[in-house]
């Protein structure tokens, strides 16, 4: 009993230590923070003896969506950051790598408490508008003029990130939608590349009859089906701008172009184009069906090129691509679904705004070069110098590159054009078409109701 106070003190300290350990375990950024500060005082005293002591230590948080080590961008971001840190010993870049969905939710949570990381990722147009309206981002107008950065971007691409003449984000890519196909499976099925949508439905039926899975899709992530549907709408509408017309009050969702697109989409689904249980496949699982040679066609943005190039389906240059065909004779195959990429934005309240802008400038100037070296330069938003063929890019990659030359405009994805409320209603309405046949007029009505409820 004599030792009781001692025991209590010991227990208490053990508990505190335990808590502290847990704290640092679960809160990685806080602990690495501490570590970095110690490190920085050391480096400061070192550099102090050599040259200027005036430069203060700077830590920049770089939230990004490149967590996958097999993705060329994973290597790229680390190389560029390492190079920059070598040139600027006083700057420390901390990477916060998340997958896309996590990053979206995390940023929304951070934005709600006004704690946006120094550099973060946003999606173009309607998706980034709420953040811009809330005044969270710093304009990049001046920064983009430095080192000729603006000149490297393709013409017009920056418009998707510009609001009231202020540029708020710089994209990591610029993609178009196309259809990848497996040449060997097409041969086995005795079918040719379709030039119209009706032929495509026919091809689906013939492949199906031969026991070949015609198309793959990851429809649990409902944007995939919507992306395909919007491409049909782009055709039936005879050109781009349907959603903009709806927003401007010139058209409604009950327009014939829309119902025609729904019917065409349902023809494709009812012909058995997609794998059984498609709505439970997430994006990666759906894409893997095509990559492993279990499906003959795959509709996706050109960002999938890198992954498909390395896949088993593309052994012996087995994968080809074709443009989305005309629907009921309408539309122009040279108009594409456009997908301006996710983009880097800078927090207005960043503690080191100047350094952050300087780093982002450096990062984007070097981005295309690094990506070219890593064979990931298909579908960038910037012009790339270099001979792709000589650098060892595959035939399919070259085909995709050539498609880019034919682009004569097009539409953005639904959720990049419409407000989030309408977009969600649309996504679930299209997802429903995969599991139950619904009258096109009903689908149109659902869209119109959701739009009327959500417009501001």
């Amino acid at each position: 009993m004599k030792f009781k106070p001692l025991m209590i003190a010991l227990l208490a300290s053990a508990l505190t230590l335990g808590l502290a350990a847990c704290g640092s375990g679960s809160n990685g950024s806080a602990s690495s923070n501490g570590g970095k500060n110690e490190g920085s005082t050391n480096s400061q005293s070192n550099s102090g003896t050599k040259e200027d002591t005036s430069k203060k230590e700077v830590k920049i948080t770089f939230q990004n969506i490149y967590p996958d080590p097999t993705d060329p961008k994973y290597k790229m971001i680390r190389t560029v950051v390492a190079n920059y840190e070598a040139e600027h010993p006083n700057v420390k870049i901390e990477l916060d790598s998340l997958n896309t969905d996590q990053q979206k939710v995390k940023l929304k949570t951070q934005a709600a408490s006004k704690e946006v990381p120094d550099i973060t990722i946003v999606n173009p147009a309607a998706q980034m508008k709420p953040f811009v309206d809330a005044g969270l981002f710093a304009p990049l107008n001046e920064m983009v003029e430095k080192n000729g950065l603006k000149g490297t971007f393709q013409e017009g691409i920056l418009d998707y990130y510009t609001f009231d003449n202020n540029l708020y984000a710089l994209p990591d890519g610029n993609n178009i939608a196309l259809i990848y196909y497996n040449k060997k499976m097409f041969e086995e099925g005795g079918v040719k590349v379709p030039t119209t949508f009706e032929e495509m439905v026919d091809v689906v039926k013939q492949l199906k009859a031969k026991g070949i899975q015609p198309m793959a899709i990851g429809e649990k992530d409902s944007w995939t089906g919507s992306f395909l549907f919007m491409n049909i709408l782009l055709r039936t509408n005879g050109g781009p701008g349907f959603l903009q017309d709806v927003i401007d009050g010139k058209k409604t969702f009950e327009d014939p172009a829309f119902t025609e697109a729904v019917s065409a989409f349902e023809d494709l689904v009812q012909a058995g184009a997609f794998q059984e249980g498609a709505t439970s496949f997430d994006y990666n699982a759906g894409e893997n069906l095509f990559k492993t040679g279990k499906a003959a066609m795959y509709f996706m943005g050109s960002w999938a090129t890198g992954g498909i190039e390395e896949s088993t389906a593309n052994e012996n240059q087995n994968v080809g691509v074709f443009k989305f065909p005309t629907v009921n004779g309408k539309g122009d195959p040279n108009e594409f679904m456009l997908a301006p990429g996710s983009a880097f934005a800078v927090s207005k309240d960043s503690k080191h705004l100047e350094e952050t802008l300087d780093f982002l400038n450096y990062f984007l100037v070097n981005y295309p070069k690094e990506m070219f070296n890593l064979k990931g330069a298909i579908g960038l938003a910037q012009t790339v110098d270099g001979d792709f063929k000589a650098a060892g890019y595959s035939d399919m990659a070259m085909e995709v590159l050539n498609l880019f030359k034919d682009v004569k405009g097009g539409d953005l994805a639904f959720d990049n054009t419409m407000n989030p409320g309408t977009a969600q209603a649309h996504l679930s309405s299209i997802q429903n078409l995969f599991v139950s046949k619904t009258d096109a007029a009903v689908v149109a009505k659902e869209h119109q109701t959701a739009y009327d409820e959500n417009k501001e």
Binding site: E219, Q275, G277
Partner: protein, 297 residues
């Protein structure tokens, strides 16, 4: 009541820190989310106070909300009326016939400690179409029951039941453990006395085990009910609420509204509804059981 012979002040001083943390982490967020429910807010920009309009729309004019509530109650109902009796039955069998029950009970408990994501992925593979290697459909086909095969997670009419089965399977072991422990705690001399009076086997269960396990059973009921109301992770992993809201429950709807549709205010209104539902359910269950308690004590 003051058996410890300590002054009220001292008790207050020791309770206060915990109470403070508890209310900061539990009550304040609940109040804040009630308040957010009164706003028209996308979670980022400026918020507009709109009174009870969110609640009004939720209760009277939302085609997704009530079906989601219905599915949540379905899950709760099935888990109370099917899962708990089965768990109790197994617990009685184990405690009566198995000499060294620890291994069995631990095995049943195993799914509880597995991550929900792991379980979701596992069952997704089991439910897959036969052509994708789905185990369930392959078994059905090999038995010649081709007409019984379904794409379990994507047919709107059956998807929710497929998810419920997984939820029940996962937490069965949890309730077996709780009730098994409860049965173990019943003094064995009662059974011995009953044996002398000629009551053993089923009779002993009916008149001794069941009445004495009521307090423990109550814990199981409350846990399973509240757990069902809050079910979210499994739905998110397996179906994401789809196809087209066919497996949407209240919690997943709240998430989708707040973070995907960016209607933070509306999502908060749904959250408030969930809190009230949980509170009401707990009070009702406690009320019912206090009657049962009285009858048997």
């Amino acid at each position: 009541m003051n058996v410890l012979k300590v002054s009220g002040w001292k008790i207050a001083a020791f309770v206060l820190p915990c109470l403070l943390i508890y209310s900061l982490l539990v009550f304040v967020p609940i109040l804040v989310s009630f308040y957010s429910g009164l706003l028209d807010w996308n979670g980022i920009g400026a918020a507009k106070f709109i009174g009870f309009k969110n609640f009004e729309k939720m209760l009277t004019n939302d085609p997704i909300f009530w079906p989601a509530v219905g599915r949540t109650m379905l899950l709760a109902g099935v888990s109370m009326c099917v899962q708990l009796p089965i768990a109790l039955f197994i617990a009685i069998l184990i405690s009566r016939y198995v000499k060294k029950p620890n291994f069995l009970v631990s095995s049943y408990f195993l799914p509880v400690i597995l991550s929900v994501v792991v379980i979701g992925q596992l069952w997704k593979t089991i439910y897959n179409p036969a052509s994708m290697g789905g185990m369930l459909n392959q078994i059905l086909e090999s038995l010649g029951l081709n007409s019984w095969t379904h794409s379990w997670l994507t047919e709107p009419k059956i998807a929710i039941y497929s998810v419920i089965v997984v939820a029940l399977w996962q937490y069965l072991g949890y309730h077996i453990l709780i009730q098994f422990t409860g049965i173990q705690n019943i003094p064995s001399d009662i059974y011995e006395a009953a044996k002398i009076d000629g009551a053993s086997g089923m009779k002993a269960d009916r008149y001794i085990t069941l009445p004495l396990i009521v307090p423990i059973f109550k814990i199981s009921v409350v846990l399973s009910f509240i757990g069902s109301l809050q079910s979210f992770d499994l739905i998110m992993v397996m179906t994401g609420g789809g196809p087209a809201h066919a497996t949407e429950v209240v919690a997943s709807l709240m998430y989708n509204m707040s973070f995907l549709s960016m209607k933070y205010g509306y999502g908060s209104a749904i959250a408030s509804f969930l809190v009230i539902l949980c509170l009401a359910a707990t009070i009702i269950i406690n009320g019912l059981f206090s009657k049962l308690d009285k009858r048997y004590s």
